[in-house]
């Protein structure tokens, strides 16, 4: 019997469920995670199964409930805090940067903060400029945090467990366009690491570095390019901090070309960081300029056609690759 | 010139041709060309050097007499009237 089809959303839920079952110190907390079942319906049904002690609806105060999560973690709990969307996480930035990322360091290691913060990120659902941005690159700037971006069913299902085991705060970014991703969870996979990038498609001509919601678009672009005779290698970063430089550099040294696909804004972005590291460490291996496909540097438009025009997509990714390999076309 | 003086002249000329050559280490009957790894150009340069330093003519026909250290020094002693 073949394994049943599932979704990314369901994988996120089962990850939380498994964590709750495995460890009584684990609880989920956030806006509308209980009675409403989560803004993106990830936690639907968990309140009934685990009760209000472990599935806790919070007031609309990101600073307060993230701070509470930090305190609970210091006190020995294993909280999973959900923030509705990355834009709202800025209300809790003081807690995340000045407390979560910093206290283990300032206490000389006396306080561990085994906290996991999940949040939705990215555009594509016409949720406009206050709910659609990709700010995970900002968080990847901060020492003391580990930043994860699951882009596959397996990562959505299995990244949470090692994140909870980590003594430091871990932020998990779930792209809103991935929740409906359908597929069969690979039965051979029962755990994943949260250290390495993954080569999702091998290729010899160009390396496409991406993560999160841009992975499906990038893979689609690679398929298009393959029909034109261009074999693109696709790297899914998975972990945005600390970056798995070795995988990126090894690939770029083979293909000698790299396009970075990052839904964040280009200026000061994660793509800029990756490009610079390649320039620093693989300059002499490069056979073409580095290229990036990022979101347009505007607040995300509400109108569907404008939003589509602002986001990276398979056509723009393929076009960027062609400028490196088929400059005449 | 004495044999000792002549040996010094030979060593001196050789130093300009094969700086690492050590004439003193060559046995009397040994072939200089073998012992010091001299090719025909080196040997010609040795003859030229001796010709210039000592003012003697060394016909080509006499070359075989010069191949051993013993023979060379004896030849030079005769030629310089020693």
């Amino acid at each position: 019997m073949s394994a049943p089809t599932t979704t990314y959303r369901e994988c996120c839920k089962q990850a939380i469920r498994a964590a709750l079952l495995a460890d009584p110190r684990v609880f989920l907390m956030g806006e509308d995670v209980g009675r409403y079942g989560g803004c993106y319906a990830v936690s639907k049904g968990l309140l009934d199964e685990f009760g209000p002690e472990r599935i806790r609806d919070t007031p609309l105060s990101e600073s307060a409930f993230v701070g509470a999560g930090i305190g609970a973690a210091i006190a020995g709990m294993r909280p999973i805090v959900e923030i509705m969307t990355v834009n709202f996480s800025l209300l809790a930035l003081d807690q995340i940067l000045n407390n979560a990322a910093t206290i283990p360091h300032m206490s000389g290691g006396q306080f561990a903060i085994p906290l996991v913060i999940r949040m939705a990120t990215g555009g594509g659902r016409q949720l406009a400029a206050q709910h659609s941005h990709s700010l995970e690159g900002w968080y990847a700037h901060i020492p003391g945090l580990k930043i994860l971006a699951p882009a596959t069913l397996e990562d959505a299902r299995y990244m949470l467990a090692p994140a909870l085991l980590d003594p430091n705060p871990v932020l998990i970014f779930e792209h809103i366009m991935l929740y409906n991703l359908e597929g069969v969870l690979d039965p051979a996979v029962t755990s994943v690491d949260i250290e390495h990038a993954a080569i999702r498609r091998p290729g010899r001509d160009v390396t496409l570095v991406t993560y999160g919601g841009s992975l499906p678009e990038t893979l689609a672009a690679a398929e298009t390019l393959a029909r034109e005779g261009i074999e693109a290698e696709v790297i899914d970063l998975r972990v945005l901090r600390p970056l798995d430089e070795a995988t990126i550099l090894e690939s770029v040294r083979r293909t000698r070309r790299c396009v970075i696909v990052d839904e964040g804004w280009r200026s000061g972005s994660l793509s800029a960081e990756i490009g610079m590291r390649i320039a620093e460490q693989a300059f002499y291996e490069l056979d073409a300029p580095l290229r990036r496909v990022c979101s347009a540097e505007v607040p995300m438009p509400y109108a569907g056609h404008l939003e589509r025009a602002a986001l990276p997509n398979r056509e723009r990714i393929a076009a960027a690759v062609r400028t490196l390999l088929r400059p005449g076309s | 010139m004495t044999r000792e003086e002549l040996e010094r002249v030979v060593a001196d000329v050789l130093a300009g041709i094969a700086p690492e050559a050590d004439l003193a280490s060559v046995k009397p009957a040994e072939d200089l060309r073998e012992a010091l790894d001299l090719d025909s150009m080196d040997f010609l340069n040795l003859v030229i050097g001796l010709h210039e330093r000592l003012g003697i003519d060394i016909p080509e026909a006499d070359y075989p007499k010069l191949f051993s250290k013993e023979g060379l020094l004896a030849y030079l002693v005769t030629k310089t009237g020693g």
Partner: protein
């Protein structure tokens, strides 16, 4: 304005270290003048300049190691305006005003024109970093490559295609430059100036010979040449000459090869870009083994046109300079065919390895006395030499090679014509 660049002294050279400038800014130079000493894998080489004019600026300091083609000095062509007096610069103030002689120096100083801005970098072709490195490894000059990359940039594929097109420029297994800090000028000076590094030389030989055997389909021919007449000729000549003017058999072999090449010019030149390119003259490389190991094969120019005494002097001079350092760049770069002669104590025969991109190499064994059947059918003892040819089968065939060896043998039978 001309740029004097680090020359390529053979396809296997990647970089050189400036040991010494023999000119200074303001000196006038002419074509062929030795202007610098450069340390290479083949030892310290006197480098000639191919520009005429005035040395404007030296761009390298002794001790600096730079890749081939790096500009080393700027040379102003005759009649060209010096950069320091560029039209934009205001004229220097006239003599200090007589009325205020004491203040003159400071006035003059304040009014002095600002130093000229550095010249704008010249825009060369766009080359990807990887392509630049690959071109250096392969010894492919970038100015001959058509770029197909973004903005017309030259890519690795372009370099490799150019190298495949030009067999002469094909890969040498040179490691990437390890980038050791170049020795200080003092250190270079302190070392024997004319010396060479045996390790580096070994590497250069390894690269050139590996490339030869990898790329050149050699064929080999050999013939035995009777040398009685040639040696009798030499004996007669030398009998009348004081030692400094005497000739060695080597010079007969050299000249005979050059005259044979006149008759078979297909062996005199290079295999480049998938075809044969004739040499610009008969410039014969002469393989000189160095004491302590290694060898170099500097060229003697226009051998076919020069009389024996002159060639003998050139050969003596070359051997001396090769062994003590001081070869010139032109001598190392442009041999059109190379000869290896094993000398009187050498083996009887040699099967040479062609020095790329040349298309042939001639070998002479030791001259030895061997049984010989004379014209009357009698068996006699005669001096003979084995002459061998290694030739590039892409450029020629055995029939032509046989004709060439026969021509050498023929010239050696008529020594008075050499």
């Amino acid at each position: 304005m001309g740029l004097f660049r680090m020359p390529s002294l053979g396809a296997d050279m990647e970089a050189g270290t400036l040991v010494e400038w023999l000119v200074k800014p303001g000196d006038s130079v002419k074509r062929g003048q030795v202007v610098a000493v450069v340390e290479t894998q083949k030892g310290a080489i006197e480098v000639e300049c191919f520009e005429e004019g005035t040395v404007e600026e030296l761009l390298l300091a002794p001790g600096q190691k730079v890749p081939v083609e790096t500009p080393m000095a700027r040379i102003r062509a005759p009649g060209e305006v010096p950069a320091a007096a560029a039209p934009a610069a205001p004229p220097p103030p006239a003599a200090a005003p007589a009325a205020a002689p004491r203040e003159a120096p400071s006035v003059a100083k304040a009014a002095a024109p600002p130093p000229p801005p550095p010249p704008a970098p010249t825009a060369g072709p766009k080359v990807s970093p990887a392509a630049r490195r690959r071109a250096l490894e392969l010894g492919v000059p970038l100015d001959r490559i058509h770029g197909t990359g973004p903005d017309g940039a030259i890519t690795v594929a372009d370099v490799e295609a150019a190298a495949r097109g030009a067999a002469a420029e094909a890969p040498t297994p040179a490691p990437a430059p390890a980038g050791p800090v170049s020795p200080k000028a003092e250190a270079v000076r302190a070392a024997p100036r004319r010396g060479f590094d045996p390790v580096e030389m070994r590497k250069a030989i390894a690269a050139a010979m590996s490339r030869s055997k990898r790329e050149i389909p050699h064929y080999y021919l050999a013939t035995t040449v009777e040398m009685a007449r040639a040696l009798a000729f030499l004996e007669a000549v030398n009998r009348e000459r004081p030692p400094p003017e005497r000739l060695l058999p080597a010079v007969l072999l050299l000249k005979a090869t050059a005259l044979a090449l006149r008759e078979v010019p297909e062996l005199n030149g290079f295999w480049v870009e998938g075809g044969f390119r004739p040499g610009p003259g008969i410039h014969l490389g002469w393989a000189i083994s160095l004491r302590g190991g290694g060898l170099v094969a500097p060229a003697i120019h226009d051998v076919d046109a020069r009389p024996l005494p002159e060639l003998m002097a050139a050969l003596r001079d070359l051997v001396g300079r090769a062994r003590n350092g001081g070869l010139k760049s032109s001598e190392l770069a442009d041999a059109t065919l190379t000869i290896t002669s094993l000398g009187e104590r050498g083996a009887e025969a040699v099967l040479p390895v062609i020095y790329p991109p040349q298309v042939a190499m001639v070998g002479f064994g030791a001259i030895v006395r061997r049984p010989w059947v004379d014209d009357e059918g009698g068996l006699v003892a005669r001096p003979v030499v084995q002459v061998s040819l290694a030739a590039d089968h892409r450029a020629s065939d055995g029939h032509l090679g046989s004709r060439f060896l026969a021509a050498i043998a023929d010239h050696l039978q008529r020594p008075e014509s050499l």
